[in-house]
């Protein structure tokens, strides 16, 4: 993709060419971060949405709530197995908004907090080919510490099956759940009945730890629910070289070379709050940043908005109470907008507070309105 400026027909200052180049520059790594999820969404759209009634969907939801695991819940796709397997398939379809509109809306109301989208009116159903979801939760294998017993690369040998792993959300709040979807499809052909193992690498801790296993369904897919994430963590799926067919002959080819998926990073975003309180003097207010889920010693930066751009005006370190305070002058006229941001650390991603506005007060002398830190 080129970064040349657009060929405007309207006259414009040549000095703007640099601005145009910046506006049309190639995507940054962060702008392209959603690429795997976009691809998975595209794949999901090519499959036929599952057809079941909303009442059945509800009943499966309640049934699944009794299966709460202690660590990671692995949902295993088993083709058109029992009706008890419907829920996770519904979740996968819900993430892809592939459910019928009324069911999608119900899924959104139940699972919107973990990223399931709502249907958008009008919500025409796409003319897509068939799909066989139906995945269900199973208990994870016992988690044992150790290195990931897979090749260091992102895939196995040339003859090994291709294994991918996609997270429904790459950013979650502390303790938030997430859903991982894996797919085993060597040469584009799904492998069914193959046991794949999930490995987790928690940021700041050494090595990979086994987090469970699951068996691929007819479309080569597994769905894994992560109920609780306290900090940044990478996940990857692996099929070892000894073969792990779970009884389905279609899975034998997975054992020829072994494969490992590219790691998926799930970043925890701790909330940051900014509270406003009167200061010790009439022309001074105190802004207190609170980040209960962040670590003591994490840096918070106070920013002031000017001309539509946020500028850093000071920084503090969170104390033992996970707070940091800034004293700011009350503006002599108009209002000043502040927010606090928290740069990423090993344990969590970047976060920012909602803005806080401080308005001029009647009768205050005109002494300026910038931050006093």
């Amino acid at each position: 993709m080129s970064t040349d400026p657009p060929d405007l027909t309207e006259p414009h200052d040549p000095a703007l060419d640099g601005l145009f180049r910046a506006l049309t520059a190639s995507g940054t790594a962060d702008e392209m971060a959603g690429r795997p999820a976009a691809l998975e969404m595209f794949r999901a759209s090519r499959r036929r949405p599952p057809r079941f009634r909303s009442q059945r969907f509800r009943s499966q939801r309640f049934r699944s709530q009794r299966l709460r695991p202690h660590r990671l819940r692995l949902a295993v796709s088993m083709g058109s197995a029992a009706a008890a397997l419907v829920l996770s398939g519904g979740i996968a379809a819900a993430y892809a908004a592939a459910l019928p509109a009324p069911v999608q809306h119900i899924a959104y109301r139940m699972l919107g907090s973990i990223g399931v989208p709502d249907t958008h009116p009008p919500a025409p159903s796409a003319n897509v080919p068939g799909r066989a979801p139906s995945v269900a939760p199973t208990p994870s294998a016992s988690a044992t510490a150790g290195r990931c017993p897979c090749p260091a690369g992102t895939s196995g040998t040339d003859t090994a099956p291709a294994l991918i792993l996609v997270a429904a959300r790459t950013q979650v709040p502390p303790g938030g759940p997430d859903v991982l979807t894996g797919r085993l499809a060597p040469g584009g052909r799904p492998e069914a009945g193959v046991r794949v193992r999930l490995f987790e690498h928690v940021a700041g801790r050494p090595g990979w730890r086994a987090a469970g296993s699951a068996v691929t369904d007819a479309s080569g897919a597994v769905t894994l629910a992560v109920p609780h994430l306290a900090g940044n963590a990478w996940f990857r799926l692996a099929v070892n070289s000894t073969g792990n067919s779970a009884g389905n002959s279609a899975g034998n080819s997975a054992g020829r070379g072994g494969a490992v998926s590219p790691p998926v990073l799930i970043t925890v975003i701790p909330p940051v709050y900014l509270d406003l309180a009167p200061g010790p003097q009439p022309d001074v207010d105190v802004l207190t940043a609170r980040a209960p889920s962040a670590d003591t010693g994490d840096v918070v930066v106070l920013q002031e908005r000017a001309g539509g751009v946020w500028y850093g005006v000071g920084q503090r370190v969170l104390g033992p109470d996970h707070r940091a305070s800034f004293s700011v002058l009350v503006p002599s006229s108009g209002q000043v907008e502040y927010r606090v941001v928290m740069p990423r650390t090993t344990a969590h991603g970047p976060s920012g507070s909602a803005p806080v506005r401080i308005a001029a007060r009647a009768g205050r002398a005109k002494t300026g309105g910038r931050a006093r830190l």
């Binding site: 759209s45 958008h120 990423r344 970047p350 806080v356």
Partner: protein
Amino acid sequence: MTRARPAGYGIIRDAMGTEADDYDDVLSRARSGDETAFLRLWDHLQPRLLRYLRVLGCDEADDVASETWLQAVRDLSRFDGGADDFRCWLFTIGRHRAVDASRARIRSRSRLMTAAAVPVADPNPVEEEVLGGLSTRQAVALVAGLSPDQAEVVSLRIIAGLDTAAVAGILGKSPGAVRIALHRGLRALSADPRVRALEEVDG
């Protein structure tokens, strides 16, 4: 439902426009399910869509962009048009989703002074703003600092690469009004000393 190419719609012949025929073929293959073709479209348009949404003031630009692509992909098989039309259609969807997100945010916001934190949409802003920033983000911020009308016209013309007729169609304005807003917006940007600074950064 078939979306025919609206009369008078067109695309600025920017650097991507020279590949219009190529992208017509890419779009055609994406419609038939070619994953590589879809990713090429996504790579091509996603950065611009995100920047446009940020100019609109979307706090959750990534989420809104995802919803935009979700709807586009869902209806892709019934989309009838070329690559230029697809770009116009995608940004129209993005604008609608941004409006929806804005309304939802207003409804859910209980108070302004002490509100719950929201994750920053882009993982980079914190570091960029703290450590000095990158020119693209600064440029987006500069455009966002224009009046809302001017900012949207400039972003659709420059970032999205749509021509005047297409922008007028999306915004429901006359082409003349679009040209005036664009002229005023570019003039304001030219007068901004930060644009010169940005140019120095780029240089």
